[in-house]
Symmetry: D2
Subunit: 134 residues, 4 copies
Amino acid sequence: MPDFNFPIRVYYEDTDSGGVVYHSQYLNFMERTRTEWLRNLGFEQDALREEYKCIFVVKRIEIDFIKPARFNDALIVSTHLKKAMFASFLLTQSIIHQKTNELLCKAEIKIAAVYPDTFKPRRIPELILTGVKA
Amino acid sequence: MPDFNFPIRVYYEDTDSGGVVYHSQYLNFMERTRTEWLRNLGFEQDALREEYKCIFVVKRIEIDFIKPARFNDALIVSTHLKKAMFASFLLTQSIIHQKTNELLCKAEIKIAAVYPDTFKPRRIPELILTGVKA
Amino acid sequence: MPDFNFPIRVYYEDTDSGGVVYHSQYLNFMERTRTEWLRNLGFEQDALREEYKCIFVVKRIEIDFIKPARFNDALIVSTHLKKAMFASFLLTQSIIHQKTNELLCKAEIKIAAVYPDTFKPRRIPELILTGVKA
Amino acid sequence: MPDFNFPIRVYYEDTDSGGVVYHSQYLNFMERTRTEWLRNLGFEQDALREEYKCIFVVKRIEIDFIKPARFNDALIVSTHLKKAMFASFLLTQSIIHQKTNELLCKAEIKIAAVYPDTFKPRRIPELILTGVKA
Protein backbone atom coordinates (compact mmCIF):
# COMPACT_ATOMS: atom_id res chain seq x y z
CA MET A 1 0.00 0.00 0.00
CA PRO A 2 1.15 3.59 -0.60
CA ASP A 3 2.93 5.63 2.07
CA PHE A 4 0.80 7.73 4.38
CA ASN A 5 1.81 11.38 4.76
CA PHE A 6 0.82 13.77 7.53
CA PRO A 7 1.65 17.49 7.87
CA ILE A 8 3.05 18.77 11.18
CA ARG A 9 3.90 22.34 12.11
CA VAL A 10 6.78 23.10 14.51
CA TYR A 11 5.69 25.22 17.51
CA TYR A 12 7.78 26.79 20.27
CA GLU A 13 7.03 23.86 22.58
CA ASP A 14 8.86 21.53 20.15
CA THR A 15 12.12 23.48 20.10
CA ASP A 16 14.99 23.82 22.58
CA SER A 17 17.50 26.53 23.37
CA GLY A 18 19.84 25.17 20.70
CA GLY A 19 17.33 26.83 18.33
CA VAL A 20 16.13 23.58 16.79
CA VAL A 21 13.53 20.88 17.43
CA TYR A 22 14.45 18.84 20.53
CA HIS A 23 15.56 15.39 19.35
CA SER A 24 12.95 13.23 21.11
CA GLN A 25 10.17 15.43 19.76
CA TYR A 26 10.61 13.90 16.28
CA LEU A 27 9.45 10.62 17.83
CA ASN A 28 6.29 12.38 19.03
CA PHE A 29 5.71 13.63 15.48
CA MET A 30 6.11 10.07 14.21
CA GLU A 31 3.69 8.71 16.79
CA ARG A 32 1.05 11.32 15.88
CA THR A 33 1.47 10.21 12.28
CA ARG A 34 1.04 6.53 13.14
CA THR A 35 -2.17 7.44 14.96
CA GLU A 36 -3.41 9.29 11.86
CA TRP A 37 -2.29 6.42 9.61
CA LEU A 38 -4.43 3.97 11.62
CA ARG A 39 -7.33 6.45 11.74
CA ASN A 40 -7.07 6.85 7.98
CA LEU A 41 -7.43 3.07 7.65
CA GLY A 42 -10.55 3.21 9.82
CA PHE A 43 -8.99 2.24 13.15
CA GLU A 44 -9.51 4.48 16.17
CA GLN A 45 -7.12 3.41 18.91
CA ASP A 46 -9.53 4.14 21.76
CA ALA A 47 -12.03 1.81 20.08
CA LEU A 48 -9.33 -0.84 19.48
CA ARG A 49 -8.60 -0.74 23.18
CA GLU A 50 -12.24 -1.08 24.22
CA GLU A 51 -13.44 -3.61 21.65
CA TYR A 52 -10.31 -5.65 20.94
CA LYS A 53 -8.31 -5.24 24.15
CA CYS A 54 -5.42 -4.21 21.95
CA ILE A 55 -3.00 -1.34 22.32
CA PHE A 56 0.21 -0.75 20.41
CA VAL A 57 3.53 -0.06 22.09
CA VAL A 58 6.91 0.86 20.66
CA LYS A 59 9.45 -1.94 21.07
CA ARG A 60 12.46 -0.70 19.12
CA ILE A 61 13.55 2.41 17.27
CA GLU A 62 16.50 3.10 15.02
CA ILE A 63 16.55 6.76 14.11
CA ASP A 64 18.98 8.99 12.21
CA PHE A 65 18.86 12.73 12.81
CA ILE A 66 20.10 14.21 9.54
CA LYS A 67 19.24 17.90 9.58
CA PRO A 68 17.46 19.97 12.24
CA ALA A 69 13.96 21.45 11.92
CA ARG A 70 13.30 24.89 13.38
CA PHE A 71 10.45 26.91 14.86
CA ASN A 72 7.62 27.51 12.39
CA ASP A 73 8.83 24.92 9.86
CA ALA A 74 6.14 22.96 8.05
CA LEU A 75 7.04 19.26 7.99
CA ILE A 76 5.70 16.19 6.26
CA VAL A 77 5.91 12.95 8.23
CA SER A 78 5.50 9.73 6.30
CA THR A 79 4.73 6.17 7.39
CA HIS A 80 5.46 3.06 5.40
CA LEU A 81 4.57 -0.48 6.48
CA LYS A 82 7.70 -2.56 5.88
CA LYS A 83 6.46 -5.81 7.39
CA ALA A 84 3.38 -7.01 9.26
CA MET A 85 3.91 -9.94 11.61
CA PHE A 86 1.52 -11.82 13.93
CA ALA A 87 2.10 -9.59 16.92
CA SER A 88 4.07 -6.63 15.58
CA PHE A 89 4.60 -4.19 12.72
CA LEU A 90 7.86 -2.97 11.29
CA LEU A 91 7.46 0.56 9.94
CA THR A 92 9.79 3.01 8.27
CA GLN A 93 9.05 6.66 8.92
CA SER A 94 10.69 9.81 7.67
CA ILE A 95 10.35 13.54 8.15
CA ILE A 96 10.96 16.00 5.35
CA HIS A 97 10.95 19.78 5.28
CA GLN A 98 7.91 20.75 3.23
CA LYS A 99 9.39 23.77 1.47
CA THR A 100 12.87 22.49 0.68
CA ASN A 101 11.99 18.80 0.44
CA GLU A 102 15.10 17.98 2.49
CA LEU A 103 15.15 14.79 4.53
CA LEU A 104 15.42 15.72 8.23
CA CYS A 105 15.25 12.31 9.86
CA LYS A 106 14.36 8.72 9.14
CA ALA A 107 13.57 5.83 11.41
CA GLU A 108 12.73 2.15 11.51
CA ILE A 109 10.22 1.45 14.25
CA LYS A 110 8.89 -1.82 15.64
CA ILE A 111 5.41 -1.63 17.13
CA ALA A 112 3.93 -4.51 19.11
CA ALA A 113 0.35 -5.33 20.07
CA VAL A 114 -0.18 -5.88 23.80
CA TYR A 115 -3.10 -6.31 26.20
CA PRO A 116 -3.93 -2.96 27.87
CA ASP A 117 -3.93 -4.31 31.43
CA THR A 118 -0.92 -6.59 31.45
CA PHE A 119 1.19 -5.25 28.57
CA LYS A 120 1.65 -8.91 27.54
CA PRO A 121 2.15 -9.52 23.80
CA ARG A 122 -0.92 -10.55 21.80
CA ARG A 123 -1.81 -11.29 18.17
CA ILE A 124 -2.80 -8.31 16.12
CA PRO A 125 -6.56 -8.59 15.44
CA GLU A 126 -7.17 -10.00 11.94
CA LEU A 127 -9.20 -6.96 10.91
CA ILE A 128 -6.26 -4.66 11.53
CA LEU A 129 -3.73 -6.96 9.84
CA THR A 130 -5.93 -7.07 6.78
CA GLY A 131 -6.48 -3.33 6.90
CA VAL A 132 -2.85 -2.27 7.04
CA LYS A 133 -1.84 -4.67 4.26
CA ALA A 134 -4.63 -3.61 1.90
CA MET B 1 3.59 24.12 58.63
CA PRO B 2 6.82 25.33 56.98
CA ASP B 3 7.21 25.65 53.22
CA PHE B 4 8.52 22.66 51.33
CA ASN B 5 11.43 23.30 48.95
CA PHE B 6 12.60 21.09 46.10
CA PRO B 7 15.60 21.58 43.78
CA ILE B 8 15.11 21.29 40.03
CA ARG B 9 17.73 21.54 37.30
CA VAL B 10 16.86 22.97 33.87
CA TYR B 11 17.69 20.59 31.00
CA TYR B 12 17.56 21.15 27.23
CA GLU B 13 14.12 19.50 27.07
CA ASP B 14 12.71 22.30 29.28
CA THR B 15 13.85 25.17 27.07
CA ASP B 16 12.59 26.59 23.79
CA SER B 17 14.19 28.38 20.87
CA GLY B 18 13.66 31.73 22.63
CA GLY B 19 16.59 30.54 24.77
CA VAL B 20 14.56 30.25 27.97
CA VAL B 21 12.39 27.71 29.78
CA TYR B 22 9.11 27.16 27.89
CA HIS B 23 6.33 28.77 29.93
CA SER B 24 4.16 25.70 30.61
CA GLN B 25 7.21 23.79 31.82
CA TYR B 26 7.20 25.81 35.07
CA LEU B 27 3.87 24.13 35.83
CA ASN B 28 5.53 20.75 35.41
CA PHE B 29 8.23 21.82 37.87
CA MET B 30 5.51 22.85 40.32
CA GLU B 31 3.70 19.55 39.92
CA ARG B 32 6.89 17.55 40.55
CA THR B 33 7.33 19.59 43.71
CA ARG B 34 3.76 18.91 44.89
CA THR B 35 4.44 15.20 44.38
CA GLU B 36 7.61 15.46 46.49
CA TRP B 37 5.76 17.54 49.09
CA LEU B 38 3.17 14.79 49.51
CA ARG B 39 5.86 12.09 49.50
CA ASN B 40 7.74 14.03 52.17
CA LEU B 41 4.58 13.95 54.30
CA GLY B 42 4.40 10.20 53.82
CA PHE B 43 1.84 10.08 51.00
CA GLU B 44 2.68 8.18 47.82
CA GLN B 45 0.13 9.08 45.16
CA ASP B 46 0.06 5.63 43.58
CA ALA B 47 -0.86 4.21 47.01
CA LEU B 48 -3.48 6.96 47.57
CA ARG B 49 -5.06 5.93 44.30
CA GLU B 50 -5.11 2.23 45.14
CA GLU B 51 -6.06 2.38 48.81
CA TYR B 52 -8.16 5.54 49.02
CA LYS B 53 -9.53 5.84 45.46
CA CYS B 54 -8.24 9.39 45.53
CA ILE B 55 -6.29 11.30 42.92
CA PHE B 56 -5.58 15.02 42.84
CA VAL B 57 -6.30 17.19 39.82
CA VAL B 58 -5.51 20.82 39.11
CA LYS B 59 -8.67 22.96 39.01
CA ARG B 60 -7.32 26.49 38.73
CA ILE B 61 -3.98 28.24 38.30
CA GLU B 62 -3.00 31.87 38.53
CA ILE B 63 0.63 32.24 37.56
CA ASP B 64 2.94 35.22 37.03
CA PHE B 65 6.05 34.77 34.92
CA ILE B 66 8.49 37.31 36.28
CA LYS B 67 11.92 36.44 34.94
CA PRO B 68 13.00 33.59 32.64
CA ALA B 69 15.11 30.59 33.67
CA ARG B 70 17.68 29.26 31.24
CA PHE B 71 19.40 25.99 30.33
CA ASN B 72 21.50 24.58 33.17
CA ASP B 73 20.01 26.87 35.84
CA ALA B 74 19.54 25.35 39.28
CA LEU B 75 16.10 26.28 40.63
CA ILE B 76 14.34 25.95 43.96
CA VAL B 77 10.60 25.31 43.79
CA SER B 78 8.62 25.91 46.95
CA THR B 79 5.14 24.83 48.03
CA HIS B 80 3.06 26.46 50.73
CA LEU B 81 -0.38 25.25 51.85
CA LYS B 82 -2.57 28.35 51.95
CA LYS B 83 -5.85 26.64 52.77
CA ALA B 84 -7.10 23.08 53.13
CA MET B 85 -10.80 22.54 52.41
CA PHE B 86 -12.99 19.40 52.42
CA ALA B 87 -12.35 18.52 48.82
CA SER B 88 -9.55 20.79 47.71
CA PHE B 89 -6.27 22.51 48.61
CA LEU B 90 -5.21 26.04 47.84
CA LEU B 91 -1.42 26.22 47.45
CA THR B 92 1.01 28.99 46.67
CA GLN B 93 4.12 27.95 44.81
CA SER B 94 7.13 29.91 43.68
CA ILE B 95 10.33 29.28 41.76
CA ILE B 96 13.56 31.05 42.56
CA HIS B 97 16.96 30.99 40.92
CA GLN B 98 19.24 29.19 43.34
CA LYS B 99 22.38 31.23 42.71
CA THR B 100 20.89 34.73 42.48
CA ASN B 101 17.88 34.13 44.72
CA GLU B 102 15.72 35.99 42.19
CA LEU B 103 12.02 35.17 42.03
CA LEU B 104 11.26 33.71 38.57
CA CYS B 105 7.59 32.91 38.93
CA LYS B 106 4.86 32.53 41.49
CA ALA B 107 1.49 30.86 41.36
CA GLU B 108 -1.66 30.14 43.31
CA ILE B 109 -2.96 26.69 42.51
CA LYS B 110 -6.19 24.95 43.44
CA ILE B 111 -5.98 21.16 43.63
CA ALA B 112 -9.10 19.01 44.01
CA ALA B 113 -9.54 15.41 45.13
CA VAL B 114 -11.48 13.24 42.66
CA TYR B 115 -12.31 9.57 42.18
CA PRO B 116 -9.86 7.99 39.68
CA ASP B 117 -12.54 6.39 37.51
CA THR B 118 -15.16 9.12 37.28
CA PHE B 119 -13.17 12.27 38.05
CA LYS B 120 -16.08 13.24 40.33
CA PRO B 121 -15.14 15.41 43.35
CA ARG B 122 -14.67 13.63 46.66
CA ARG B 123 -13.64 14.50 50.23
CA ILE B 124 -9.95 14.48 50.90
CA PRO B 125 -9.20 11.45 53.12
CA GLU B 126 -8.90 12.52 56.78
CA LEU B 127 -5.38 11.12 57.06
CA ILE B 128 -4.15 13.41 54.29
CA LEU B 129 -5.98 16.48 55.61
CA THR B 130 -4.39 15.92 58.99
CA GLY B 131 -0.99 15.29 57.44
CA VAL B 132 -0.81 18.42 55.32
CA LYS B 133 -1.98 20.65 58.17
CA ALA B 134 0.47 19.22 60.71
CA MET C 1 -12.66 41.27 15.45
CA PRO C 2 -14.18 37.74 15.52
CA ASP C 3 -12.68 34.94 17.59
CA PHE C 4 -10.11 32.74 15.96
CA ASN C 5 -10.68 28.98 16.22
CA PHE C 6 -8.12 26.22 15.71
CA PRO C 7 -8.68 22.43 15.78
CA ILE C 8 -6.34 20.29 17.87
CA ARG C 9 -6.31 16.51 18.21
CA VAL C 10 -5.28 14.83 21.48
CA TYR C 11 -2.44 12.32 21.03
CA TYR C 12 -0.89 9.87 23.52
CA GLU C 13 1.94 12.31 24.24
CA ASP C 14 -0.62 14.82 25.61
CA THR C 15 -2.14 12.46 28.17
CA ASP C 16 -0.97 11.17 31.54
CA SER C 17 -1.55 8.01 33.53
CA GLY C 18 -4.66 9.57 35.08
CA GLY C 19 -6.18 8.83 31.66
CA VAL C 20 -6.67 12.50 30.73
CA VAL C 21 -4.73 15.35 29.14
CA TYR C 22 -1.90 16.51 31.45
CA HIS C 23 -2.87 19.92 32.80
CA SER C 24 0.01 22.01 31.46
CA GLN C 25 -0.54 20.60 28.00
CA TYR C 26 -3.67 22.76 27.58
CA LEU C 27 -1.32 25.75 27.72
CA ASN C 28 0.66 24.28 24.84
CA PHE C 29 -2.57 23.91 22.87
CA MET C 30 -3.36 27.56 23.58
CA GLU C 31 0.09 28.67 22.50
CA ARG C 32 -0.17 26.75 19.22
CA THR C 33 -3.45 28.53 18.65
CA ARG C 34 -1.95 31.97 19.33
CA THR C 35 0.74 31.16 16.77
CA GLU C 36 -1.92 30.23 14.22
CA TRP C 37 -3.96 33.33 15.12
CA LEU C 38 -0.97 35.56 14.35
CA ARG C 39 -0.18 33.59 11.20
CA ASN C 40 -3.78 33.96 10.10
CA LEU C 41 -3.40 37.74 10.46
CA GLY C 42 -0.28 37.59 8.30
CA PHE C 43 2.36 37.58 11.04
CA GLU C 44 4.99 34.85 11.08
CA GLN C 45 6.79 34.94 14.41
CA ASP C 46 10.18 33.97 13.00
CA ALA C 47 9.90 36.96 10.63
CA LEU C 48 8.75 39.25 13.49
CA ARG C 49 11.85 38.24 15.36
CA GLU C 50 14.20 38.89 12.45
CA GLU C 51 12.67 42.06 11.03
CA TYR C 52 11.16 43.72 14.10
CA LYS C 53 13.32 42.33 16.92
CA CYS C 54 10.09 41.40 18.61
CA ILE C 55 9.14 38.19 20.35
CA PHE C 56 6.10 37.55 22.53
CA VAL C 57 6.35 36.04 25.99
CA VAL C 58 3.66 34.93 28.42
CA LYS C 59 3.53 37.20 31.50
CA ARG C 60 0.47 35.96 33.35
CA ILE C 61 -2.11 33.20 33.08
CA GLU C 62 -5.36 32.58 34.89
CA ILE C 63 -6.76 29.24 33.85
CA ASP C 64 -9.72 27.13 34.97
CA PHE C 65 -9.71 23.41 34.25
CA ILE C 66 -13.38 22.51 34.00
CA LYS C 67 -13.57 19.07 32.43
CA PRO C 68 -10.79 16.76 31.22
CA ALA C 69 -10.03 15.92 27.59
CA ARG C 70 -8.96 12.38 26.73
CA PHE C 71 -6.86 10.53 24.15
CA ASN C 72 -8.18 10.90 20.61
CA ASP C 73 -10.55 13.76 21.44
CA ALA C 74 -10.94 16.45 18.80
CA LEU C 75 -10.78 19.90 20.41
CA ILE C 76 -11.44 23.44 19.26
CA VAL C 77 -9.20 26.11 20.79
CA SER C 78 -10.36 29.69 20.47
CA THR C 79 -8.54 33.00 20.90
CA HIS C 80 -10.18 36.34 21.57
CA LEU C 81 -8.32 39.65 21.88
CA LYS C 82 -9.69 41.32 25.01
CA LYS C 83 -7.38 44.32 25.06
CA ALA C 84 -4.36 45.53 23.10
CA MET C 85 -1.94 47.78 24.99
CA PHE C 86 1.35 49.43 23.98
CA ALA C 87 3.53 46.56 25.03
CA SER C 88 1.14 43.71 25.75
CA PHE C 89 -2.04 41.88 24.78
CA LEU C 90 -4.74 40.52 27.02
CA LEU C 91 -6.35 37.46 25.45
CA THR C 92 -9.09 35.11 26.51
CA GLN C 93 -8.77 31.56 25.27
CA SER C 94 -11.00 28.55 25.68
CA ILE C 95 -11.00 24.91 24.71
CA ILE C 96 -14.16 23.03 23.84
CA HIS C 97 -14.80 19.41 22.98
CA GLN C 98 -15.70 19.36 19.31
CA LYS C 99 -18.30 16.61 19.43
CA THR C 100 -20.11 17.51 22.65
CA ASN C 101 -19.46 21.25 22.55
CA GLU C 102 -18.59 21.13 26.28
CA LEU C 103 -16.25 23.77 27.66
CA LEU C 104 -13.10 22.02 28.94
CA CYS C 105 -11.03 24.99 30.06
CA LYS C 106 -10.82 28.75 29.78
CA ALA C 107 -8.02 31.17 30.42
CA GLU C 108 -7.06 34.82 30.46
CA ILE C 109 -3.52 35.27 29.22
CA LYS C 110 -1.28 38.31 29.17
CA ILE C 111 1.34 38.32 26.42
CA ALA C 112 4.13 40.91 26.34
CA ALA C 113 6.43 42.04 23.53
CA VAL C 114 10.14 41.83 24.39
CA TYR C 115 13.49 42.16 22.60
CA PRO C 116 14.81 38.67 21.67
CA ASP C 117 18.29 39.21 23.13
CA THR C 118 17.53 40.97 26.39
CA PHE C 119 13.92 39.99 27.10
CA LYS C 120 13.36 43.67 27.97
CA PRO C 121 9.81 44.98 27.32
CA ARG C 122 9.27 46.86 24.06
CA ARG C 123 6.37 48.51 22.21
CA ILE C 124 4.40 46.22 19.97
CA PRO C 125 5.19 47.19 16.34
CA GLU C 126 2.40 49.40 14.93
CA LEU C 127 1.75 47.00 12.07
CA ILE C 128 0.90 44.21 14.49
CA LEU C 129 -1.23 46.40 16.76
CA THR C 130 -3.23 47.50 13.74
CA GLY C 131 -3.47 43.95 12.47
CA VAL C 132 -4.82 42.36 15.62
CA LYS C 133 -7.40 45.12 16.15
CA ALA C 134 -8.72 45.00 12.58
CA MET D 1 36.30 4.81 32.90
CA PRO D 2 33.44 3.50 35.06
CA ASP D 3 29.80 3.96 34.11
CA PHE D 4 28.01 7.06 35.34
CA ASN D 5 24.67 6.52 37.10
CA PHE D 6 21.95 9.09 37.70
CA PRO D 7 18.65 8.66 39.59
CA ILE D 8 15.42 9.84 37.95
CA ARG D 9 11.93 9.80 39.41
CA VAL D 10 8.87 9.28 37.17
CA TYR D 11 6.28 12.07 37.49
CA TYR D 12 2.78 12.36 36.01
CA GLU D 13 4.13 14.50 33.16
CA ASP D 14 6.26 11.53 31.99
CA THR D 15 3.39 9.06 31.68
CA ASP D 16 0.61 8.60 29.13
CA SER D 17 -2.92 7.26 29.26
CA GLY D 18 -1.62 3.74 28.63
CA GLY D 19 -0.54 3.98 32.28
CA VAL D 20 3.20 3.87 31.55
CA VAL D 21 6.04 6.26 30.69
CA TYR D 22 5.57 7.69 27.17
CA HIS D 23 8.23 6.11 24.94
CA SER D 24 10.11 9.23 23.84
CA GLN D 25 10.40 10.36 27.46
CA TYR D 26 13.08 7.72 28.09
CA LEU D 27 15.25 9.66 25.64
CA ASN D 28 14.76 12.78 27.75
CA PHE D 29 15.86 10.82 30.81
CA MET D 30 18.97 9.70 28.90
CA GLU D 31 19.76 13.24 27.81
CA ARG D 32 19.46 14.56 31.38
CA THR D 33 21.89 11.84 32.38
CA ARG D 34 24.39 12.78 29.66
CA THR D 35 24.22 16.37 30.91
CA GLU D 36 24.97 15.20 34.45
CA TRP D 37 27.73 12.89 33.17
CA LEU D 38 29.48 15.85 31.52
CA ARG D 39 28.87 18.04 34.57
CA ASN D 40 30.34 15.33 36.76
CA LEU D 41 33.48 15.40 34.58
CA GLY D 42 33.67 19.17 35.06
CA PHE D 43 32.01 20.27 31.81
CA GLU D 44 29.07 22.66 31.93
CA GLN D 45 27.40 22.74 28.53
CA ASP D 46 26.50 26.42 28.68
CA ALA D 47 30.20 27.18 29.28
CA LEU D 48 31.25 24.81 26.46
CA ARG D 49 28.99 26.74 24.16
CA GLU D 50 30.33 30.15 25.19
CA GLU D 51 34.02 29.35 25.48
CA TYR D 52 34.50 26.57 22.94
CA LYS D 53 31.69 27.23 20.47
CA CYS D 54 30.77 23.61 20.91
CA ILE D 55 27.38 22.04 21.41
CA PHE D 56 26.49 18.36 21.23
CA VAL D 57 23.65 17.03 19.12
CA VAL D 58 22.17 13.55 18.81
CA LYS D 59 22.90 11.98 15.43
CA ARG D 60 21.64 8.44 15.80
CA ILE D 61 19.78 6.35 18.35
CA GLU D 62 19.09 2.64 18.55
CA ILE D 63 16.82 1.94 21.48
CA ASP D 64 15.04 -1.15 22.79
CA PHE D 65 12.02 -0.72 25.04
CA ILE D 66 12.01 -3.84 27.18
CA LYS D 67 9.65 -3.22 30.09
CA PRO D 68 7.58 -0.13 30.93
CA ALA D 69 8.20 2.23 33.85
CA ARG D 70 5.20 3.66 35.70
CA PHE D 71 4.23 6.75 37.69
CA ASN D 72 6.29 7.17 40.86
CA ASP D 73 8.94 4.62 39.88
CA ALA D 74 12.51 5.42 40.90
CA LEU D 75 14.87 4.74 37.99
CA ILE D 76 18.62 4.60 37.55
CA VAL D 77 19.93 5.81 34.19
CA SER D 78 23.48 4.85 33.28
CA THR D 79 25.90 6.18 30.68
CA HIS D 80 28.89 4.34 29.30
CA LEU D 81 31.35 5.77 26.77
CA LYS D 82 31.80 3.08 24.12
CA LYS D 83 33.99 5.05 21.75
CA ALA D 84 35.30 8.60 21.48
CA MET D 85 36.08 9.82 17.96
CA PHE D 86 37.34 13.19 16.64
CA ALA D 87 33.93 14.73 16.23
CA SER D 88 31.55 12.34 17.96
CA PHE D 89 30.94 9.99 20.88
CA LEU D 90 29.31 6.60 20.84
CA LEU D 91 27.56 5.95 24.15
CA THR D 92 25.53 3.08 25.53
CA GLN D 93 22.84 4.01 28.01
CA SER D 94 20.42 1.92 29.98
CA ILE D 95 17.57 2.46 32.41
CA ILE D 96 16.86 0.09 35.26
CA HIS D 97 14.12 0.00 37.86
CA GLN D 98 15.77 0.86 41.16
CA LYS D 99 13.76 -1.43 43.40
CA THR D 100 13.55 -4.53 41.20
CA ASN D 101 16.80 -4.00 39.29
CA GLU D 102 14.99 -4.92 36.07
CA LEU D 103 16.31 -3.54 32.79
CA LEU D 104 13.64 -1.27 31.26
CA CYS D 105 15.44 -0.01 28.19
CA LYS D 106 18.84 0.22 26.60
CA ALA D 107 20.20 2.35 23.83
CA GLU D 108 23.25 3.08 21.72
CA ILE D 109 23.50 6.79 21.02
CA LYS D 110 25.80 8.75 18.73
CA ILE D 111 26.47 12.32 19.81
CA ALA D 112 28.26 14.78 17.54
CA ALA D 113 29.98 18.09 18.26
CA VAL D 114 28.74 21.00 16.14
CA TYR D 115 29.13 24.78 16.00
CA PRO D 116 26.17 26.47 17.78
CA ASP D 117 25.38 28.88 14.93
CA THR D 118 25.73 26.68 11.87
CA PHE D 119 25.24 23.17 13.28
CA LYS D 120 28.27 22.19 11.14
CA PRO D 121 30.39 19.31 12.52
CA ARG D 122 33.52 20.27 14.45
CA ARG D 123 36.30 18.49 16.37
CA ILE D 124 35.57 17.80 19.99
CA PRO D 125 37.79 20.14 22.07
CA GLU D 126 40.89 18.26 23.31
CA LEU D 127 40.07 19.03 26.94
CA ILE D 128 36.73 17.23 26.69
CA LEU D 129 38.15 14.26 24.77
CA THR D 130 40.76 13.83 27.46
CA GLY D 131 38.19 14.27 30.20
CA VAL D 132 35.71 11.67 29.00
CA LYS D 133 38.44 9.07 28.38
CA ALA D 134 40.07 9.51 31.77
